[in-house]
Amino acid sequence: MTISAERPIEVVTPSATPPAYGRSWTQRPGWMSQHLGTAIVAAILGYAIGHWFGNYLASGYSFVANSGQNSIADALALTFGVVGWLLGIGALNYPLAKLIGRDGAKEETVDNWTKYFRYSLDHKVVGLQYVVGVLLFMFTGGLLAMAIRTELLNPTTHVFSADTYIKIVSEHGTVMMMMATSIIVGPLGNYLVPLMIGARRMAFPRIEALSFWIFVAGYMVIFSALPYGGFPTGWTGYAPLQTQAGPGMISYLLGFAVIGIGMMAAGFNIAVSIINYRAPGMTWSRLPIFVWSILATAALLTLATPVLFAGGLFGVLDKTVQTAFYVTEHGGSSYLWQNLFWFFGHPEVYIMALPGFGIVGEILPVFTRKPLFAYKVAAAGMIGVALLSFFVWQHHLFQSGINPDMRPLFMLTTELISIPTGFIFLVGMGTLYKAKIRFEVPMLFAMALFFNFLIGGVTGVFLSDVPVNVTVHGGFFVLSHFHYTIMGGLLFAFMAGLYYWLPKMTGRMMNSRIGKWHFWTMFIFFNLTFFPMFIIGLLGQPRRVYTYAPRLQGLNDFSSISAFLLGVSFLIFFANLMWSMWISPVKAPANPWDSLGLEWQTANPVPSYNFERIPVIMTDPYRYSEADAPAFADMGDGAGRSSSTTAGSSQA
């Protein structure tokens, strides 16, 4: 395919100073402008007002008589808190101004460190905000995991009460699931997609910024469950227990709804950007595989999350104004929640798998110096997974008493989805064939994904088989399976992505020696933590129990101790991050991994307009093995800014 001069090339001269918009009160200097601090203050105010308003609306309407807990006040307090947060950060300035017919007030564009604490429309700032956000939440969820493994050290001696334990488990699951949804799409997706498709910005920068700030708000709502006394349902929140649970449940339901808005916003913005903002010449068959994976993920985020959003709101209504969506005695159905939840929940699983595939697909060619094997199969596989993932949700309900003749169907669809999922192995193994492998830290993490995800995927086939499911459903086998796919797949891919792209994002190299320590401890102790759990599950230990059969103590202790060492591995990562980013930074070369990717071709640090000129994509990506391969893109360097140069015309 040739890129010819037929397509006009947009030449935009970036001005040194951003265009002057009407100055609004949001652009006041210093502490008077809007930032994280005003957001916190406004959130607290909103919380207080909402709580008062709820009590005013429905005073004496308590969850438990005379307990002072009013579900309506709790729900409204959290909702108003979130609205206050968004007002405080400035997310609503523009839409509200438009709403009353004024010209929208443009957001502040500061260029110092405080931009990371503001409502920034720069996708690179949002990406870095997400990096810090997801890491914070990952560490909090990880601490809860340490607490779980501490309790499971002994079957009879209890560190936590049964009550506290179940709430720790529930909070860990919910936090980690919501963190994992955003862990790659948020930081790397937002930062890299425009750079990889040759765009100057996202399609909807305000929606993008909103997706981050509402993600943070959603997290705070989910964490607010703890001071409210927690919730006992696990991350799945099954319904009669949900209806029965205390006020912490409202934080869970509202938290899902709030984070759901962020997920929909992120997915919508990224999908539109990828479809419409590709540089000239960036045809679908030249799209980097990471962008394909993010596109598939964005489609899932946009289509699956509304179900969670609605499901969460139904739950809030059940708990506040006494509707009966999930109350069987009053005409609702406990199956409704299970179906809504998993109709979202299973695409969610692939929201957490696909970006990982994208990252390894992006990293393998660089470190093997080979083209990505079976690129089209990989892209088709991701789309196939995204489509099929909407047809498998009832495999979570095999023993729940659903219509039994549905079971062979859902067994079939679930096993079918392993075909497109397995393409990532075809891609990986084909790319490794006769390669020249460099074992840099990102490559180590990428290869570990193949080891871990293989175990996770194969055990998934076991779980999809109804007769085997009878033995392993609801036990530690399931738990181990999804930790192998999410942690062993997604989190390893995220680490690969961080080590690989942080030099681009921050201009500083991660220390490779500490990085290797981090990799090997994480890889070894991850497997030592979770592999025994397959056996623990087969031997009959159900999930979410604070006490278990004494004969399983040996395996549980082994797993716990490995888990603590896995925690140490994360401390090593944290130390590396601190060391390499702040304490002793080493300036990164412009293209440290010798990659052909478009994101490495722009200046470093990336200018706020990303590309001085919109690049023209000349050829397909990953032509690593050809000495005389043409450049991936014509960056327009030296082509001048003034004329409509049709650079790169008619190269093969």
Partner: protein
């Protein structure tokens, strides 16, 4: 995988395939002979035997897959990995695609997956749901299942030693214990789960409050207990002995403590136990709600049972809320 082959190079694929076949055969045989017979859930019931076999078949198929990928990765690391991190910007061979490799990959994975789905479907249909809960209207039932359900509702005794009939047992999940009713023995309710050997059992699982899951581990029976749903699961007991019953669906604080032990005994022992318990419990059984597939809790939630003072519930809903109380 890719088949092209430079001249002076060893045949990588042949090496890997040879190693793969040898190691896979050894691993499969070792597993099948030494580990397979001990894989849970054991041999206590027909469904346990079958579900164990399905697990073993799946593992025998899975081991070569795992071993194949691991050998490939290991081989790649050893043979194609650079010894030093020398940056050689122009890399190895340039195969972007290989139609043969792609087609055979897709065909092989599809065939394996379809065989697995077919085998799984056959197993779940032939084994009457493989011990999993089939909901209120099971479609794959052992012979005599309908007759047993009719007998349960009518309260007539349909099972006696040697009768080969299906024995209906009701499992009632409640926070945080399971109780069991034997509808064909007068409908008495007990916390003991005693079953006769060599008998097809129909478990009718329901709940009084939240969702529980009745998991009789060694029997390989698992059925969610939903309020106001009768979830039916079948198994045929084959060996006498004890088994564990655990709740495997999170049901609140004491979920971890929601377990008890059941027992499979000889048919005559069971008959003795059932008739004795029926007689001993007769006075209490009269106070229970009449046997039904599901029980609707009253407006106070909870199980709404009888209390010694004769009131329906610990406190009267009418006193609390007036006569507008929703009908239970």
């Amino acid at each position: 995988m890719a088949t092209e082959n430079a001249q002076n190079e060893p045949n990588h694929l042949r090496r890997m395939t040879t190693a793969w076949v040898i190691i896979s055969v050894i691993a499969d045989v070792l597993f099948w002979v030494f580990v397979g017979p001990h894989v849970p859930p054991g041999h206590m019931t027909e469904t346990a035997i079958n579900n164990q076999r399905t697990f073993n078949v799946l593992l025998v198929i899975a081991l070569p897959v795992l071993i194949g990928v691991w050998i490939y990765l290991g081989y790649a690391i050893v043979v194609w990995g650079s010894k030093r991190n020398s940056v050689d910007s122009i890399g190895g061979e340039s195969a972007r695609t290989n139609r043969k490799a792609q087609t055979s990959w897709i065909v092989v994975t599809s065939v394996v997956v379809l065989i697995l789905a077919g085998y799984g479907s056959y197993a779940v249909i032939a084994e009457h749901g493989s011990g999993g809960g089939e909901g209120p209207n099971p479609v794959w039932t052992p012979s005599g299942a309908a007759q047993a359900q009719t007998a349960a509702l009518a309260g007539t005794q349909n099972w006696s030693p040697g009768s080969k009939n299906v024995l209906p047992v009701q499992v009632i999940g409640q926070q945080w214990k399971f109780t069991y009713r034997y509808p064909t023995f007068g409908g008495f309710e007990t916390t003991q789960l005693i079953l006769p050997v060599n008998t097809e059992i129909a478990f009718n699982v329901t709940s009084l409050d939240v969702i529980h899951s009745f998991w009789a581990y060694q029997l390989s029976v698992k059925a969610d207990a939903n309020p106001q749903v009768n979830d039916v699961a079948y198994t045929e007991t084959k060996q006498m002995g004890n088994f564990v019953v655990r709740c495997s669906e999170l049901c609140g604080i004491w979920h971890g403590s929601m377990y008890n032990y059941g027992k499979v005994v000889s048919q005559s022992d069971f008959m003795n136990w059932a008739t004795t318990t029926e007689a001993a419990n007769a006075a209490n059984t009269k106070l229970l709600p009449p046997f039904a597939w599901t029980y609707v809790p009253d407006a106070n939630g909870a199980s709404g049972g009888y209390y010694p003072d004769g009131k329906q519930t610990p406190y009267s809903t009418v006193e609390l809320y007036g006569s507008k109380t929703p009908a239970s």
